[in-house]
């Protein structure tokens, strides 16, 4: 079980909290201690909107350990409207609805459960914007 690791990642997993460099303005995700753009260590927490578009996507049939029960699922690179591109699973979507450039929004879902008696990890996935 990874009590400490999942606890440390909660703000990123549940609220998409990343970092904003106060020197160059870069938005980074997940949280960093040094800016990958200018090298500054002057960073502050920055909550991302959760809105983005699919940058690229693939279907996973052979999943890593812990994710076997979810196959087949879509793994995507999502370009957030603030700039960062993050790797995330898509949910509540069918193959015919998945395409590069499609608008998606962040939702919180069960990512992983450590057996029947271990902790449940909740984190971000992305889903197509709800039709109006």
């Amino acid at each position: 079980m990874h009590f400490a690791r999942s606890w440390r990642q909660q703000s990123s997993n549940l609220r998409l909290v990343g970092s904003r460099c106060t020197s160059c303005g870069a938005i980074l995700f997940p949280e960093r201690i040094r800016c990958s753009g200018c090298g500054s260590t002057e960073l502050e927490d920055h909550r991302l909107s959760g809105r983005g578009t699919i940058f690229t996507v693939t279907t996973v049939f052979e999943a890593p350990r812990g994710f076997e029960s979810q196959v087949p699922y879509f793994a995507a690179l999502v370009e957030l409207e603030e700039g960062p591109i993050i790797c995330a699973m898509l949910t509540d979507v069918d193959r015919e609805d998945v395409s590069v450039g499609k608008k998606v929004t962040m939702v919180t879902r069960r990512i992983l459960a450590h057996g029947d008696d271990g902790p449940i990890i909740y984190a971000y996935k992305f889903t197509p914007e709800l039709a109006g």
Binding site: L14, T91, T108, R109, I120, L130, A131, G132
Partner: protein
């Protein structure tokens, strides 16, 4: 009961999973006929959904509508009877997800299908006593039913969240609330058991009907109102018949109740049922409308509320997600996929 300071709903939101199973499909598997009376579907949580994720989305939708700083919430209270953790609050995860921690009270409430409205009464008290400016309450469930049981035809999934705040900021101001509670065992789930047990017809007259009639009649007496004074009435909805029958017994016109009975579309969402109906009523209400909300929880009790809709509803609800959108977002699954999604298939 009413607080000394005016209190009301400043934002609300609901959530219903995307998947649906037809009651006829359940019937096909367990009775072989595939027959059903009328339209009857229930919402099925996806393989990565549970009560926590449903509550989080409902809470986010409520926060978007209320448009307040989450740090101003002093309570995040959710009611459910399908907690993903037996020990570990769902509400702390919800509160974290909406950014309301750490200076908030977070707790899970339990009273069969009515913990959400209990939390609503407590939130009204908290805001009404000026202990808090805002407090969130809600109810959500992935309703459990023993495979093949009559309950399995209707047990759905969904939830709703409400943010209570000062009356002058509200889209609907509370007029009064009552509770009627007795020690009546009509439906229960024992510790360690996966599925609930119920008393068949005993869940009707001495349980659901008696308690709702009692809470609503007490409420109407307290505020000097009759059924004709309410534009809409929302009742707990374990099936589509009970709320219409109790409404008729109390004198409410069918057309003021039926649009908010969602059971044929999403099933009985337990703690979410009456609250989703209330959210749907607020979605279509006009300023000046009065809405009656009456929950029911086995064990047994009913909480009744009278709200008056304000002018603010017109602008504020534009920031929210109408329940109708979730009702229209559907994907049918057969019993096999339902069994997989609900974790009824064990691989080890």
């Amino acid at each position: 009961m009413k607080p000394t300071r005016a209190v009301g709903v400043i934002g609300y939101g609901g959530y219903i999973p995307r998947y649906r199973i037809d009651a006829a499909e359940v019937d096909r598997v367990w009775r072989g006929s595939g027959k059903k009376e009328g339209q009857s579907f229930k919402a099925v949580p996806g393989p990565d959904e549970d009560t926590t994720t449903i509550a989080i989305q409902a809470a986010r939708n409520a926060m978007d509508m209320a448009s307040i700083d989450p740090n101003e919430l002093r309570a995040v209270w959710f009611g459910t009877e399908s907690k993903p953790y037996a020990v570990k609050p769902t509400s702390t995860i919800v509160a974290d997800a909406i950014g309301a921690l750490p200076h908030a009270n977070a707790a899970d409430w339990e009273f069969a299908c009515k913990p959400g409205t209990e939390a609503m009464q407590a939130a009204i008290g908290m805001v009404g006593s000026d202990m808090a400016r805002y407090a969130m309450c809600g109810g959500a469930d992935t309703a459990q039913a023993k495979p093949g049981d009559v309950l399995e035809y209707t047990t759905g999934a969904g939830g709703a969240a409400f943010i209570l705040g000062p009356g002058q900021e509200s889209v609907a101001v509370l007029q009064a609330s009552t509770s009627y509670v007795t020690n009546t065992t009509d439906f229960f789930r024992r510790e360690g058991q996966e599925y609930p047990n119920h008393g068949q017809r005993f869940t009707g007259e001495p349980a659901y009907f008696h308690h709702i009639r009692s809470s609503v009649m007490t409420l109407m007496e307290e505020i000097g109102a009759g059924p004709g004074d309410f534009t809409f009435a929302v009742f707990h909805q374990p099936n589509s018949q009970f709320p219409l029958r109790v409404a008729a017994e109390l004198g409410f016109a069918r057309n003021r109740v039926e649009p908010f009975v969602l059971t044929n579309l999403v099933g009985n969402t337990y703690s979410g049922a009456a609250m989703l109906g209330f959210a749907k009523a607020l979605d279509v209400a006009s300023p000046g409308d009065r809405i009656l909300l009456a929950s029911y929880g086995s064990g047994a009790g009913s909480d009744a509320f009278s709200y008056e809709v304000t002018d603010k509803i017109v602008e504020v609800r534009k920031r929210g997600v109408p329940i109708e959108r979730y009702l229209k977002r559907t994907k049918s699954v057969d019993y096999a996929m339902y069994a997989r999604y609900r974790g009824k298939l064990r691989r080890n």
